[in-house]
Each structure stands twice: as structure tokens, then as C-alpha cells.
């Protein structure tokens, strides 16, 4: 099982590298989708089937959105010259991040032995207290329903603003063309 996780993780790392470095935007988007499906398989083998299903659906939708955003434009390569300053800055930053992460990982419990103080209570009580067989549904829809409500508001707001941004024409343009001139008038117009 552990070897399978490592293989999937390597696949995702390679997919991410291809997605970031390839020149053609369509292949880049599809490589990012491969990373997403790798994450979904990982969820499945980590004992989270609900999340695996959600991840597959979300992955398909986000691929559609990204392909819509890339294909209508010209896909010529933008990275003509190497922007060395931001590359070096980024690599230094990532180096610091990984070092800090390795330092912080010392305090975690080992992989495979989670600290389940609250979750044990949820697992033993879900079927009796909420009537749900699936502990995940019991948590998102009953124990932590207010969290879910807040997150639904965030989702609603972001989709609403995407629609507002993508609207073709303003209301004013549809009703009447605004022909009034602004600024200082010319002498003959006075």
C-alpha cells in the first residue's frame, strides 16, 4: 500500500512538472488534469471514497473551464526570454518553505497513526445521534453544519462574481447608447 502511494505521488510530481514547463497551453491544462485524477486515486486508496468521487467531478468541470479559457486565444509561447530574477526568487522561496516544512513535520504524529481525539467521538456517535451511516455526511451536515453553510456562501459568491465578470454588455448599453460628451466642451459647442 505504501509503495502504491509513492508511485502515485511520483506520477503527480511528474505531471505537475509537465504542466508547469510545457510550452503548449492545451497540453499544460491536460497535464494539470492528470495531476487531479492522480489526487483522486490517492483519495480512493486513502479510505476517502466520497472525496474521490467529488474530486473526479470537480476535475472534469475545471478541465472544461480551463480549456475554455485557453483555446480561444492564440497559444504561442509567451516565455520567450528567461525571467531570471523571479525564477531565482521563486526557487529560494521554495527552498526555505521545504526546509521549514521538514522542521515542522517533526512534531506530527507518524504517517498511519492519526491523533483521533474528536473523531473517535464522532465515529462512535454518528449512527445513533445523526442517523447517518456515513460519518463524513454526519459531520458536514449535522455536527458542523454551520461550517458547511459558510462554505456554501463562499461558493455562491464566487460563482456569482464569475457570472458578473463574464456578462457580455452592461445594462446601460442595452437600454440606450450613451452619447453624452464629457470633459471641457469646445468653443463652438457652447
Amino acid at each position: 500500500m505504501n509503495a502504491l502511494f509513492h508511485v502515485l505521488m511520483l506520477f503527480m510530481l511528474i505531471g505537475a512538472a509537465v504542466a508547469i514547463e510545457t510550452k503548449n497551453m492545451l497540453s499544460s491544462v491536460i497535464a494539470a488534469g492528470a495531476v487531479g485524477f492522480g489526487v483522486s486515486l490517492m483519495f480512493l486508496f486513502l479510505g476517502a471514497p466520497d472525496i474521490a468521487i467529488t474530486q473526479v467531478i470537480v476535475e472534469v468541470l475545471s478541465l472544461i473551464i480551463l480549456i475554455r479559457a485557453t483555446t480561444f486565444a492564440d497559444n504561442r509561447a509567451i516565455e520567450r526570454k528567461m525571467d531570471s530574477f523571479s525564477t531565482v526568487t521563486g526557487l529560494i522561496f521554495i527552498g526555505f518553505l521545504v526546509m521549514a516544512a521538514v522542521w515542522a513535520f517533526q512534531d506530527l504524529t507518524p504517517f498511519g497513526e492519526p491523533l483521533m481525539r474528536v473523531s473517535r467521538r464522532y465515529l462512535s456517535g454518528t449512527a445513533v445521534e445523526t442517523g447517518a451511516v456515513n460519518a463524513v455526511s454526519g459531520i458536514i451536515l449535522d455536527y458542523r453544519a454551520y461550517d458547511t453553510l459558510g462554505e456554501a456562501i463562499v461558493l455562491f459568491t464566487s460563482i456569482l462574481s464569475a457570472f458578473v465578470i463574464l456578462r457580455r454588455r452592461g445594462k446601460k448599453d442595452i437600454e440606450a447608447e450613451d452619447t453624452e460628451e464629457f470633459g471641457i466642451l469646445e468653443q463652438e459647442q457652447l
Binding site: 494539470a32 490517492m42 486513502l46 467529488t54 473551464i65 485557453t70 492519526p114 460519518a135 458536514i140 464566487s158
Partner: protein, 120 residues
């Protein structure tokens, strides 16, 4: 002690690649892909933290009772939080793509440095 698993390190490398794309790339869609990869890495990290060796999914069917489930199942709490986080990721991705499309309509390019130059 010694909680550092090689899976955690690889996961952090995946997130580092996302940050690299966000900082160093000039194509807007590449930056969006960087954000998406970071999202994947963080979600996966939370699920990895809740994994129990040879654990089963936290679903109570007829073959198991509640006390056995509490011993054998993986942690359901990060799963519940990540489930909503994934869907929100889709919403933010749609917002970012909409803004990128509008920027392309205005400036006729996806290049970030060109967009900085053509102000107004």
C-alpha cells in the same frame, strides 16, 4: 517522534511546484494552474494526516458496529472539511478563469508583463 514521512516531503514538493508556477511564470493560465496544484497538495496533505494504516472508510455497514468502527476507520474529520474545500476550489477557479478571459479581451494577450505595461 520521527513523524517525517517521505510522502509528506513529496507532498510539500508538489506544493512548492505550485508556488514556483505562481511566482516565476508569466502566462496567466500557468499561474492559475499553479494555484490549482497548490490546492491539490493542501487537500491531499490533510487527508494524508488522517490516514490510519490498513484503515477502512468511515462508513458503518451491517458487518461492523460503532465501537469497532471507531478503532478501525480512518479520520473522518479532515475528509469532511476537505470535501467542501474541493468544491470551493472549483468556484475560485471559475472566478480566476473569468478574470483571465476578461483581461484577454481587453489587452489581447495572456502575458502578465505586457498587461502591466499597457496600463489604462
Amino acid at each position: 517522534m520521527g513523524g517525517t514521512s517521505s510522502l509528506y516531503i513529496m507532498n510539500m514538493a508538489l506544493m512548492g511546484m505550485g508556488i514556483y508556477a505562481l511566482i516565476a511564470k508569466r502566462h496567466i493560465i500557468k499561474k492559475i494552474i499553479g494555484v490549482v496544484i497548490m490546492e491539490y497538495a493542501i487537500n491531499l496533505f490533510l487527508i494524508l494526516l488522517g490516514y490510519k494504516t490498513d484503515g477502512i472508510a468511515p462508513i458503518q455497514d451491517s458487518s461492523i458496529n460503532a465501537a469497532q468502527l471507531a478503532v478501525r476507520a480512518v479520520d473522518p474529520l479532515p475528509q469532511a472539511l476537505v470535501l467542501t474545500s474541493i468544491v470551493i476550489g472549483l468556484g475560485t477557479l471559475a472566478l480566476m478563469a473569468a478574470q483571465a478571459i476578461k483581461l484577454y479581451e481587453k489587452y489581447k494577450t495572456f502575458d502578465m508583463s505586457e498587461i502591466n505595461r499597457l496600463r489604462g
